[in-house]
Structures are given as structure tokens and as C-alpha cells.
Symmetry: C2
Subunit: 614 residues, 2 copies
């Protein structure tokens, strides 16, 4: 067999696909490079880059992905986010409408009456938007816009001064628009400074790769996937993406959404930025523009990407994953506390009163709504419902509200709702009124809590406590003849431990097995940090522990610690061997019981496994 680890790394089918796509469109030079200012006309018609940035920050790039060019109108979508942040949605909407105009980008389309621009993606709307950005924290408008865009791109961007000066020198039509906006009171000051800011904003230098990363930031709720900085406030994502959807591609916007189906924005520098919300960002760079002012090759490439990778916003098959990952009741999976037989009997048949629901993915209305129905259906048969959040990525406020509402409703019917694996949601749940004692670190803790409460309700306080067990009442020695028991009583040294004391440490040799006569102990894996790792078992008086290593002779694999003052007996290998010669019936009895205990554990493990594999 060849050693595969030495072979050259495999090429990704996705990289290959993008390379082929680039090659396929390389020769297409439809459209013409913008030439209304000489600086833009300098762009080469054959510059061509394609980038995709994923929501987790992986960037695929092909061609001229690092060639700088000016962002132009793509900046409009982002400055709109900054203006919303500065002024709020209501204020901005009162100044700038959000209706597609059906007109060209440089039309002076102001709504009759109010004079508000049709939308923030046409020049009139973009200049008005620029005017709403606040001068604050000692920063000018353009400084704030530049910092905002740099945050989205994940690196410090700069302004192409030559392009800026050229735009400013020839931007008379935009000056006319600026004064019309002043006339209608859409901007509150003379437009001169605002226009310079606007010209500078359009001259910010980006690469195709930057556009993809900005797109991924928009796809990732405004958090840059490379720097993890929250650049855009999540509450404004819907505003920005909606306006890009209806007005982002000039008077091709309707057909763009129809054919390509991605919120997008183009610029006369040749850039196209497209976003598949929640998923990825795309950047395309190709300077020749079509009649509508969009990058001709950019549209063709996006059209192929959307079709080939099925990225259309409304492509079929985009249902959210089911929120219930696994569900089982306490009769299928028990906590790892091994209880005395009397308690096991008391618990038997009541396990179904504990319902564990492991949730996963994003909890939003549509994913959590079936969970609500499921829980309401289960509730009449339950005393406890435990929601495990281990595999939950996010809970929105709606799902959080429904969890709390359900908790309150069910409490009224005597059903307790608990949360486990709540770690990353602990604070928000606690702040919403979830009592700390209903939030558990892991599912085992929650199961044990439920079992304890069931035991308490069945047996009462007096009988639900762990009672000391006589040697002959331990599982291992139960049923042994009286004289054998008396003999053993003299052979097995008695030991005691205080709460917190180690009875076994991992990696020690396994030369004994132990009989717990009073108290309870916890078995856990040592953590990598040296502390306490995952809890494996809790044993109570009457139970044997340390038997696995004793049977197969391997070193101890876990730590055992007393949970309270404990009394126990130790059975070492010498005595065990001697017993085989002197009291074979005793040894056979112990072996028999050990096998039974192992068989019971194995049956339990198999049932649990079946629940998890379902």
C-alpha cells in the first residue's frame, strides 16, 4: 500500500471550476471602459478577476484579483449603512425613498412633491446619503466612510487622488443634483463639502478580492469573516440588502434579480459586488461596461456563477435544517449516576417523564415553530423537558421569546423546562429570567437533576438520600453464604475518604477493585489542562468501582473522587488469586456478579447508542 501522505495536495474542484470559468470568459471583451474622466479610461479592458469569499473567511481568487481600481457606485450601498447607523431608519427613509426608479443612474430623479431621491443607489440618493453621515469623534465624513469600508474589506483602504480630482473637476451634473437636494431640504447644508466627500468615496481603491470580502461581511450579518470585527450593525443588514436587491444594478435591477438572484451593486470602475445572504460574497472585476453602466463581463460571470452553483436567492431547495437533532426520553438514556437498587426500582418506568430534545442549527421562527408543536404534544406525558443547545449555532430573539413563553406555560401545568449545554447562551438566558438552577452545563447534569426530583417525589426526602449499605447488600456480594461473607469481612481492608479526596488516579496500575459501602463517588476523565474533564459515572453506596482495569489489567483510565465522606473496601489481586484456591465458590460468585454488572452496563450502552444513532 502506498503512503498517501506524501502525494502532492489534491486540487479543489471549486478552484478548478473558477479557473475554467475565468478562462471561458477571458476572451470576451463586450462593452467599453468608462471614459468620462481620463483616469478611468486608463483601465485595461482585459483586466479580469473573480473572487468568492465564504462566510467562514475562505477566499477563492482567480485572475486579476489583486489589481486595484476605484470602487465607484459600489460604495453607495455601504455608505447607506453608515448613514442608517448615524440617523436611524425612519429619518433616512423620510429623506431618501427606496423605490426602483426604472431610470438611468445619473437621472435627477426626485419624487414629485417631496423631492426625495427615488432610492440611495442612484446618484441623487447617494449624494443625499453622503450628506447624512455625521462628522463626529473628530473625524470627517470621508474619514468615517473610509474607516467603515476598510472594516468591511478587512484591510486599510485608501483614496485614488488622481481619480478623485478628475471626478471633482468634471462632476457638474452631480453638483446640479446637490443643489436640487439642498433646494428640497433633503440635505441640510450647502452641498459643496458633501459633494467632495461623495467624489472621494467613489475614488476609494479596492481589489476584486476586497469586494468578495465586503460581500462576505454583508453575508455574515455585517461581521468581517477575516477580522471578526462587527463592522455593520446587524439591524441594518435587511435595509442594505433590500435596496441592493431592488435598485443595485441601475435599470437592469429587475432582470438581475430575476436571472441572477443576488443582492448586488456595480460601479463604473468595473467592479461588481454580489451577496448571497448568510452564505457568501462575490467580487468580479472587469472594466468594460454595458449600456446600463454595469460591467458587461461581470454580469455574464455572475450569471454563470448563479446558474452553475445554484446561488439564486430563490433557487429551489433552500429549506432550513430541522431544529430537532435527536430526541429521547429518560427511559432510553439515563444519567451516568448508578443508583442503589431501591432507587433504580423507584425510577423504573418513570424515565419517560423526562424528555430530552437536542436542538441544532439556527433557531428562528420557522425552525423553532415545529419544536413548539413537538413540545406541546409531549408535555402532557412529561414532568421535565430538557432542551440541549450544544449544536445550536444561534438563537434569534423570536425563538428565545418562544422558549421563555413555553417555559412559563408549561410551568403552569407542572412541567419544568430546562436547558443544558447552554454555555454560549447562558448570559442571555439568565438575563431573560431563566433561573440558574434550570441551566445545566451538560445533558448528564440535567438528566440527573430530573431523576433526583422524580425520586424525591416518589420516595420523599427521607428515602431519596443515599444510605450506607452492609457488605452483604452490595451488588457484588449479594446472595453470598453467611460464613463466606464473614470470611470476606475479615479479608477486605476498610478504607475511608473525605469529600473531594481522590480514590483512584488515571494511569495508576489497576490492582484492586472496590466496594462502596457509604457515600457516592464520581468518575471522570482527566482534562488536558490537568483539571477535571468529562464526567463518566457517579456511583452510590452498594456499587463496585475500578472493576474494568481489574478485569483487563490495563492502567486506570479515569480519576475517581469522593463526592461526600465515603467508606469502601478494597479487593486486591492477591486475595482474588488466593480466593480461587481457598474459596472457589466465593470467587465464582463475585465473577458471576461482575459479569452481570458488565452485561447490564453494556445493555444500557447499546440502548443509548441506538437512541443516538437513530
Amino acid at each position: 500500500m502506498t503512503d498517501l501522505s506524501s502525494t502532492i495536495p489534491l486540487c479543489s474542484p471549486i478552484e478548478d471550476y473558477l479557473k475554467n470559468l475565468h478562462a471561458r470568459h477571458q476572451s470576451c471583451l463586450d462593452g467599453s471602459v468608462a471614459d468620462y474622466i481620463p483616469e478611468l479610461a486608463k483601465a485595461r479592458a482585459d483586466w479580469f478577476g473573480i473572487c468568492i469569499a465564504t462566510r467562514d473567511g475562505h477566499v477563492y481568487e482567480v485572475g486579476d484579483a489583486r489589481q486595484p481600481f476605484t470602487i465607484q457606485s459600489i460604495s453607495k450601498a455601504l455608505t447607506y449603512g453608515l448613514a442608517l447607523e448615524d440617523r436611524g431608519e425612519d429619518f433616512i427613509l423620510s429623506r431618501i425613498s427606496v423605490e426602483p426608479s426604472g431610470e438611468a443612474f445619473n437621472a435627477i430623479s426626485l419624487k414629485p412633491g417631496s423631492g426625495s431621491p427615488f432610492n440611495p443607489m442612484i446618484n441623487a440618493g447617494a449624494i443625499a446619503t453622503c450628506g447624512q453621515v455625521l462628522i463626529k469623534d473628530g473625524q470627517s465624513r470621508i474619514q468615517r466612510i473610509l474607516a467603515y469600508l476598510s472594516g468591511c474589506a478587512g484591510r486599510q483602504l485608501d483614496i485614488d487622488e488622481a481619480v478623485y480630482r478628475s471626478e471633482s473637476a468634471t462632476g457638474h451634473r452631480n453638483r446640479a443634483i446637490g443643489w436640487m437636494l439642498r433646494n428640497f431640504g433633503i440635505i441640510d447644508e450647502e452641498p459643496t463639502d458633501i459633494l467632495e466627500t461623495y467624489f472621494q468615496q467613489c475614488a476609494i481603491r479596492v481589489t476584486c478580492r476586497d469586494l468578495a470580502v465586503i460581500g462576505a461581511t454583508l453575508a455574515n450579518d455585517g461581521r468581517n469573516p477575516l477580522t471578526h470585527e462587527q463592522v455593520i450593525k446587524p439591524e441594518f443588514m435587511d435595509n442594505i440588502l433590500s435596496v441592493m436587491s431592488t435598485c443595485g444594478m441601475y435599470d437592469y435591477s429587475g432582470e438581475w434579480l430575476y436571472r441572477i438572484g443576488l443582492p448586488a451593486k456595480s460601479g463604473v470602475g468595473g467592479g461588481v459586488l454580489a451577496v448571497l445572504p448568510g452564505q457568501l460574497g462575490i467580487g468580479i472585476f472587469s472594466p468594460p461596461l454595458d449600456a446600463q453602466g454595469n460591467s458587461a463581463r461581470g454580469i455574464q460571470v455572475c450569471s454563470d456563477l448563479s446558474r452553475d452553483l445554484a446561488l439564486h436567492l430563490f433557487a429551489s431547495g433552500s429549506a432550513p435544517t430541522k431544529a430537532i437533532r435527536i430526541t429521547y426520553d429518560g427511559s432510553q438514556v439515563a444519567s451516568c449516576r448508578h443508583r442503589a437498587k431501591s432507587m433504580q426500582d423507584a425510577l423504573r418506568g418513570k424515565g419517560h417523564r423526562i424528555r430530552m430534545v437536542e436542538l441544532q442549527g439556527e433557531l428562528i421562527f420557522s425552525t423553532f415553530e415545529p419544536v413548539v408543536r413537538f413540545i406541546l404534544k409531549q408535555a402532557p406525558y412529561c414532568q421535565f423537558i430538557v432542551l440541549s443547545l450544544h449544536h445550536v449555532v444561534n438563537i434569534d430573539d423570536v425563538a428565545l421569546g418562544l422558549i421563555l413563553d413555553l417555559r412559563n406555560r408549561l410551568q403552569g401545568s407542572g412541567v419544568e423546562v430546562m436547558i443544558c449545554n447552554a454555555d454560549k447562551f447562558f448570559e442571555v438566558l439568565a438575563s431573560k429570567g431563566f433561573e440558574e438552577q434550570t441551566l445545566f452545563v451538560d445533558d448528564d447534569g440535567a438528566l440527573e437533576y430530573c431523576e433526583n426530583k422524580i425520586l424525591f417525589s416518589i420516595l420523599g426526602a427521607k428515602d431519596a438520600i443515599i444510605k450506607p449499605v452492609a457488605l452483604g447488600d452490595t451488588f457484588l456480594l449479594h446472595g453470598l453464604a453467611a460464613d463466606d461473607l464473614e470470611w470476606l469481612d475479615h479479608q477486605l481492608p476498610a478504607r475511608e475518604a473525605v469529600a473531594g479526596q481522590h480514590l483512584i488516579r488515571s494511569d495508576e496500575p489497576s490492582d484492586c477493585l472496590y466496594l462502596l459501602l457509604a457515600g457516592s463517588i464520581e468518575v471522570y476523565l482527566p482534562a488536558a489542562s490537568g483539571g477535571r474533564g468529562k464526567r463518566l459515572d457517579v456511583f452510590e453506596a452498594g456499587r463496585t468501582f475500578g472493576e474494568m482495569g481489574f478485569i483487563d489489567g490495563s492502567a486506570r483510565s479515569a480519576d475517581v473522587v469522593a463526592l461526600e465522606p465515603c467508606t469502601y473496601r478494597a479487593l486486591d489481586r492477591d486475595l482474588y488469586d488466593r480466593m480461587g484456591r481457598e474459596r472457589p465458590a466465593v470467587r465464582m460468585h463475585i465473577q458471576e456478579q461482575l459479569s452481570r454488572q458488565l452485561a447490564a452496563s453494556l445493555r444500557k450502552a447499546n440502548i443509548e447508542m441506538a437512541a443516538f444513532r437513530a
Copy 2:
């Protein structure tokens, strides 16, 4: 403890929310009922219904959810789907554009030059759309439209004849539009019949509940969630939903998408249909209309619903769930085939060459792309990569293409890609060239296949087969003294079985344990149907079976069948008891080995459990 199962059913927080929403808006009577024809003017201004239908067919309804009214312009979105199906996207786009017009619904907005209507949601576009529906299969246009809409609603709809006649009697403006369309060649026949079809289509009677179900059909890739009928072809979902997004709410469409963020369509009958793609459908019914011709209360209620339930298409936090559910290698989880020690030794340390990747949810580009990266990273260390599809809901063509591409690439590097739990994707995978022997019913079969191939490559054909085992080489009796072995050889009756023969049947008493000397056996749960259920274990020559029931005395819980001709020995309880008296050392040896075997199984189960609980 009270018996909770007798308490009255709990009310759903979602139903309560909708009731409150309905009550909150009940008194709002903004707008005026359409009165351009007397039949519409008869609608009561206080009729008010709210419905939500989920993708899995659950319908929440409040208020006048069953009050019939005419569908009016909402029909436009659906007839557009039928026309696309009849004529194809390119043809339809050549006749009817998809740009928002920024004008009122009854404007005669035809594009200069081509004369094509701006979009199919304004009257001109809708009449043109109607004209593209084919008369076929002996069915008139209106019969086909009615059947199509009935399919979406999940019940037989009918036409309100009075409204139809009234619309027809007064529809002069629409007749003018019809003749303009004929003039520009947008429709190919005189408009008379087409207009009557259009008037009838608008007069189809629906309820608010119907609208929600139609919405859920649109949300569910065109498959009605109640009847499960595929009504709309999935390939046209993006077209319909895009047009609804940009043009569905007349000249309020931009602001609607901005504020409410749901593809939608309204009608002058007072209906509003909104869709959250992939998730749910909403129907609102309230006749008074606002200045733009949309149900005034419908807009307010949708606005509240979108905000309260976070339904905006671009609401933050809508990331797809991670596609990798669990991943482990063959050293963490082995197949349930218990092999001879020589093979176990050969396999030891090679388990990591088998990589199991359990996938989940929808496999689309964005969810599968990280899987591609993961697999490429693992490939150099692997000989086998197994993708489990048990929890996969859907695989789109893109993800399917990537799976196939990866399979081919990896094959070139000596890594086999296999699929397990492929049941529902079996046909499509086979049709794409996945060989049948790489598709497995369950993960265990795939694991076993990989282990077998590894064994074969290490040991060669000669040593990788199951060899008969001498009595003293069975695990249970290994290490026993020669005379004890000879004694046992006479005590244990030899048995034989042919392939397919039952050795144990579930529910029989457990009075024996068995030693397998040649061949292999399979342990499986009986299926509810009486056939063969889940496979639990495969044992090969040298192994003990039937020990669990023998130890704890419970009845047999599984069936055991010979996979090939087998030879085995039976050890019954009488002999075991006698052995305790006559040959205690032999019995102790057997007990010791049984314990070791159980301990080994338990350790394996614990490791597997940890992999699944991760």
C-alpha cells in the same frame, strides 16, 4: 404527583400571538373597499383573517380565515408560473419584461420600442401573460389556470360568476391594453378571449387560508404541503418569487421589500399573499385598500409579522446549518464485525485510514463547500472516505456534482469515496455513475467493507479469510490446561448449521452460550414486519455468542443466523453448574474470559458513544 396526561391541552404561544395580533388590528379600518364594480363594494370592511401555513403543512388561522373573496391580482403571480411552464423563460422574457415600472397597477406601461409590458404584475403584463397560457389537453386557458391555482391551494376552487360578469362589463381600460398588446405583437391573437380569461382568473374565489397554503406551496419549491402534489415546476420558483419581490406590491414594492422583506402579491379583493421562501406562506384578508391599491390592514399586519417573527428575507442570522454533523475515523468506531485476533491485530492502527463524515441538512454549494475543504485536508491520510447521508434532507445538483468530482479526483490518488445511508438518493447517485458497490445501506456495512479491504491489502487473499479455530484457540478457552481442554472437548456437543440457518431466535429462553469454531454469524434485531431488522453484530470463528442472556438470564433479545456453513459448540447451564463443582478452575477461567470480553465491548461502546456525543 398529579397525572399530567389528564390536564387540558396547552395553548400554543404561536396561536396566542396570532390571536393578539388579530385583536390589535381588529379596530383599524384605514383605507376603503374597492368599489369600481358593485360586487367588490359588497365586501364588509371589518372582514379580517390572518393565516400562516408552514412548509410541513401546519396551518395557523385566526379570524375570517374561511370567508371567500376573489383573488384578483394575486392570480397574476401564479398564472405567470403556468405561462413559463408552457412557453419557457426565454420566450416569456422576450414578450414581458421584469423591471419595476414605478407606476400604478393600471398604467398602460409598455416599454418604448418593443412595446413589452414592464412586468407581469401590472395589468398589461398580466393580460400578456394570460395570452401565453396554452389551450391544450382539451382544456381552455381558464380551465388550466383554475386547475393550477386549485393545485396550489390544495382544494378545488371556483369562479365568482357575478364578479366575473361585472369585471367584464366594465373592463374597458383593460380592453384598450389588450389591443395595444396585439398592436405590438406581444399577444398573437385578438385579445377578446384572452381578456375574458383574465377577468375570470381575477374572479377565482379563495379564502385567506387558501392564500397561506398557496404561499406555503411557493415556499416549498412548488409542492403543495397538504396534498404533496408538485404543482409548480421547481425550475420556475426563482422567476415567480423574483417578480413578486420587485413588482408584487404595485408602486409600494421597493418599500415593501425594504420594510417587510417577503416576496408578496396583493389583490383589490383585500387579499395579501406573502412567502418566506423555504419556510412558510402567509395569507391576510382585509378588504379596505390604501392609496396604492394594497390591503391597508394587510400591510400593517405583515409589517408586524415580519418584525415580530423576524421573517425579513434579509433578517440577520439566517446562516445554513453546518453540513458536517459528526465525523470520526475507523479507530474510534469500528464495524460491528468482531474479528479473529490476528485480524484485529492487523487492523489495529489502520483505523484512521477510514474517515466517516456524517452529513446533514440541505447540501448546496455553500453548505457543501466547507465539506470539500475538509475532505481534501483529510484525503492524504485516508484510504477510504465514507459520506453518510442519513440526515441529509436534499442534495442539489451542484453538491451532487461536487461529490462526483471529489470521488473522481480522490480515486486518482488511491482514496475511495463511498456513500452510506444513501437510500433516498440511491437512484440519482447510481445514475450519475456511482457504482452500486460503493453505495451502502448503513454505515456499518461501509465500515466493514473498508476494514475488509484494508485486511486484504495487509494480509493478502489467503490470510484475510475466516479460518476455522480449534477449541483451545477460542477466546473463551484460550490458555486452558490441556487436560481441562480435553475434558471439555467431550462435554460440549458439536453442532453444525448451513448458511441462512437460525442458531438463536429472539424471545427463546437463554440456556446456552456458544463457541463458534468455523464460519461467521450475524446478530440482528427482529423487524416489526417479521423480517430482518437492524444488524447488531457479526461474529467470526473463535468468538463466543449468546453470552448476554446466559449471564443475566433474560430471554434472547436478538436473532442469530449463520452467514455461511458454521460449526459451533454449546455450553448449557447444567454443565456450567457441574463445572463449578467438578472443575472450578475451568469455570473460573471461562468466567474470567467472559468478563474480559464484556469489558472490551463496553470500552468499545464508550469510545463510540464519546464520538457520537461530541
